[in-house]
Amino acid sequence: METKADIIRVEILEKVKEYYLEKFGEIETFVPGVSSIRYAGRVFNEFELINLVDSSLDFWLTTGRYSEEFCGKLEDFFNVSNAILTNSGSSANLLAISALCSEKLYERKLNPGDEVITVAAGFPSTLSPIIQNNLLPVFIDVELGTYNVAVERLVGAISKKTKAIFLAHTVGNPFEVIQIQKIAKEYDLWFIEDNCDALGSKYDKKLTGTFGHISTISFYPAHHITTGEGGCVITDDLVLANIMKSIRDWGRDCYCDGGESNTCGIRYKQKLGNLPLGYDHKYTYSHIGYNLKMTDLQASIGSAQIDKIEYFIEKRKANFILLKKALEQFTDFLILPKATPNSDPSWFCFMITVKENKYFTRNELTYFLASRKIETRNLFAGNLLLQPAFLKIKHRIFGSLENTNYIMENSFFLGVYPGLKIEHIEYIIQSFNLFFSKKLIK
């Protein structure tokens, strides 16, 4: 039976739609050189706002019906068993690595000093969890153009102490994930895909994020879909899923969702370790954990965003293609991004590396673009080992990091996010043309 509260809710949500159209509905006029061309940004319509307000009216706040709905949509999208929501992609990475150190994995658990193969050309939260868990990062160089590792180099980096591979599909471009999956199997290594920048990318027609033992996603506003802050871990392994849920939820042994208790039916009936018989299972801790949960408010946004994922992917690809076609004339000076063979990237951005030349530097080009209100970003931290926080970390480098260092000095990216319209892309292209005509004439 419809209550007065139900009726008011409907009225509020109708007003939210009205508000959206009034506040955000009008398409902003692009004024070249005046309007900013962002590298990323949130793209939404009334459905995100309606869900968010609807969730706020529940005032459930913690994991609830929208979390359940969002998880379900993610599980269906990836065709996996477990999507575990977190408060960020970085937290998802932390969970993934921390899970591999769980005693519940017995002899397969990672121990302090065990090596994890990764790259230095990336975002710190791929590396930080390795250090935070007292593991030893082993760095290998990446290729210019794909910004991913070469498989042969990865094999060479494996030592007796190597226990895991943790790699990102750099800026949405899949690494050779099937080959690396095979290597992980052959050497009995854990394999984690950092899929934070690659939601919707495919390798051999299969979504990235579905090859590793665990994969991670970020829903930060710069990413393919957003919940503001937010992230997710994906796994088909129930043991890993339970470990990650435990570590996410303060380390507790119990798997009840917020607001629930005694789901197991034996909350007060177990004898666990040295705890007294019948000690409350909800307050039994099997891991040293965190609180990394997503709120239902965030999940409500995510649930509306994931419904748009196919459109977002296609728009990113389309923007990427427009930029690539237009900039191909400058390949004497620029290394343009190239998709890994057998892959279909859902691009995070458009990476460019400036070749050595006597006319201009990366910074000159990006300053010029900035002067025309075109945002660019470097490949995150560049070479992480040169960042102040990581100068003293224990690590091993296999081979050299020549390309990584080159990227730090010479690479940057442009946006391809769905908020960019054709006029934005055309203006970017015009700006490149102008820059090159000025530089080359001089």
Partner: protein, 236 residues
Amino acid sequence: MGSPVKVNAIVMEIVHHTEILASVKFKTIGRTPRFSPGQFLHLSLEKYDPTTIWPESRAFSIQSSPTSVGIIEITFSVKGTFTMKMFDILRPGVEVSIKLPYGDFIINQQCDNIVLIAGGTGITPFLSFILQCIEKKYDKNIFLYYGIRDKSCFLFKNILDKASETLPNFKLKIYSEAPFPSAQRTTVLDIKEIFYEVPLESEFYLSGPSSMVKSFHNWLIEQEVSLRKIKFDQWE
């Protein structure tokens, strides 16, 4: 093995095996997550409002195959007021709320020798596994030891017969406290006897009354069976 989901479901069929024992088949309304054999659900007789807390419910092992999308089956015996109410009101067409899947009583299908020991309705999580094995034409050793009080408690004969016919390495042994033709042993389940009957490198799965599970578990530990090789599902 998906993330737990709360859904409404409609009773499709109910079979009253005895005056206190019944099996119910539900059709879920909405998205039902994947589950693994051995996992359980919570059933509430109230309609769930997703904006409020989950209503009173009880846990039941899922006995249907994970491949039977949207169809969920359980078996329950009357043990208190909740299950009594279930017995009385569940009829085809009745709407209930369920949430699933839960639990880590998951059978390691890579193991060469799987020993399933079921006391009474403790057989239900194993049925889900057996049904899946039949579909997959599973060929590893499965030893099912099924303990019942008497013939009236011998349920699921059709599934067990089909497993015996279809699965080349499925071995069934029924223990009944009262004699009847299908039972190989007229006694309660005997963990010692079972232990010496199965290969050394077996994994043990115990499901049934709490007292049975606890004593069998302790006995296996005393025999230095690794904790990793014993999984149990106990209900009061």
